[in-house]
């Protein structure tokens, strides 16, 4: 197959228009990067805000948002290509299967079967008892 026809076909294979110039490429990618950096810094800052158990939830939520941005804009999931969406979505569903059932077990396991060396369930720091080294 000749190069010319392949170039034509490569253009056709994209749902989103492929940027052809340096300017267009940068204009499309830089804002995404700025948002990503902003999210990363926000996540770092928010981690110092005492929110109890919500700290980790917020951090992971921001991580998921970053994943979504990278997936949509850098990994071209915006392309209306069913194959890519299939592959890109399947793993999420399957990780969901794994997580849902593992946590279902852990959340409902008999109290006796929880580990013996169990610390406080709450996210509060351990009370500083005399003689214990702090962290």
């Amino acid at each position: 197959m000749s190069g010319r026809s392949s170039r034509r076909s490569s253009k056709r294979s994209l749902g989103e228009a492929t940027p052809r110039s340096a300017g267009a490429i940068l204009a499309r990618s830089l804002p995404v990067w700025l948002v990503l950096v902003g999210l990363a810094l926000a996540s770092c800052a928010l981690a110092y805000l005492p929110m109890g158990r919500w700290n980790m939830a917020v951090s992971l939520g921001i991580a998921a948002a970053k994943m979504l941005l990278i997936g949509l804009f850098f990994m071209h999931l915006r392309r209306p290509d069913p194959l890519l969406r299939l592959a890109g979505g399947a793993w999420l569903l399957w990780v969901g299967f794994l997580a849902a059932l593992v946590f279902a077990d852990q959340a409902t396991r008999a109290p006796l079967t929880q580990p013996e060396h169990m610390e406080d369930r709450t996210m509060e720091p351990p009370e500083t008892a005399g003689g214990r080294s702090g962290f």
């Binding site: 008999a110 006796l112 079967t113 929880q114 060396h117």
Partner: protein, 324 residues
């Protein structure tokens, strides 16, 4: 048991229920196997090449209805069996709070049992017939599994966590006990026996066991050397809970709930004292997790469980706690 093993005796309360489901499922699967075999052989013979049987296309409608029919039938059958089995298992889960609490410690490759007053045995377990029993089990090393076929019961025994098994023996006799989870070299030698006796025989057996066992004595020494007695002794200036007669009692906790001071509670309170704080006390006790070894902990627990209520002298076994 001798001769040929075929259908193990049903010696626990749940066993009869399990056997009923097994028999029902055997009947159902037998019927299905017969059906499939009859259809396979029947079709194979009738529609062998060259036979005179009528051939031709099936009407599309019938195909679909047959298909939907047996899909639905299988689904209903599966749901029925699920419901039956689950109701049975939920019924068996109701633990009796007054059950006889026996502690099982599994290790490569033996079973150790300890009865409420400290009577201990290895690779054997004596049980009274007709009384609810709660086995609280843990392992010292790897995963084992406590399996008594005649009880139709099995429970893995985990290291670092406890599991429990509630049962009520219904038949006297001697039943084999197996380790069912592969646990290393001598896995197949990790056998024992469960001896179910009439309650009065059981009481007699237990009374005949060496009393005030060494474990509790050892525990008493540890109780002092590790420093428990510094606070928990009656003369101590620190405001600490009274431990004599604690085992088996209901304890009011700081969060308003009430818990029975079973062995699990005592154990947790030593390892992680800040978890369940007894009402009216400051959380000042240091955790002993990582300080006490499993053996030492067992000794201290044995001592605590053998401490009589106020009045009697410590170190002497007290009568079985809460049995009516």
């Amino acid at each position: 048991m001798s001769g040929i093993a075929f259908w193990p005796p049903a010696a626990s309360e749940v066993a009869a229920g399990v056997d009923a489901i097994v028999i029902a499922m055997l009947a159902i699967s037998g019927a299905i196997v017969l059906l499939v075999a009859a259809l396979l052989l029947g079709f194979a013979i009738r529609y062998r090449r060259g036979s005179a049987a009528r051939r031709g296309e099936l009407p599309e409608l019938i195909q679909k209805e047959v298909e939907v029919g047996w899909t639905a039938a299988t689904a209903f059958l599966a749901m029925f069996l699920f419901a039956w089995a689950s109701i049975a298992v939920l019924g068996g889960q109701r633990g009796d709070p007054d059950a006889l609490e026996i502690h099982i410690l599994a290790r490569q490759w033996m079973w150790k049992a300890r009865h409420p007053d400290g009577a201990r045995e290895i690779d054997a377990l004596h049980l009274p017939r007709g009384e609810p029993v709660r086995l609280v089990m843990r392992s010292e090393d790897v995963i084992h599994s406590f399996y008594v076929p005649s009880f139709r019961l099995k429970q893995d025994v985990l290291p670092g966590r406890m599991t429990q098994l509630s049962l009520k023996p219904t038949q006297t006799g001697e039943f084999p006990l197996f380790c069912a989870e592969y646990c290393g070299t001598l896995h197949s030698r990790m056998l024992g026996k469960v001896v179910v006796m009439e309650p009065e025989d059981y009481a007699r057996w237990r009374a005949a066991q060496p009393q005030a066992d060494d474990l509790a004595r050892e525990g008493r020494a540890l109780f002092e050397s590790v420093g428990c007695s510094g606070c928990h002794a009656p003369a101590s200036r620190v405001h600490a809970p009274e431990l004599r007669g604690l085992y088996g009692r209901q304890v009011a906790l700081a969060d308003g709930s009430v818990r029975r001071a079973d062995e699990a509670y005592l154990r947790d309170s030593i390892l992680q004292p800040r978890r369940d704080i007894a009402a009216g006390y400051e959380p000042v006790m240091p955790p002993f997790a990582g300080i006490l070894g499993e053996g030492e902990l067992q000794a201290i627990l044995a001592y605590l469980m053998s401490m009589p209520a106020r009045g009697a002298s410590p170190g002497e076994p007290r009568n079985m706690s809460s049995e009516p």
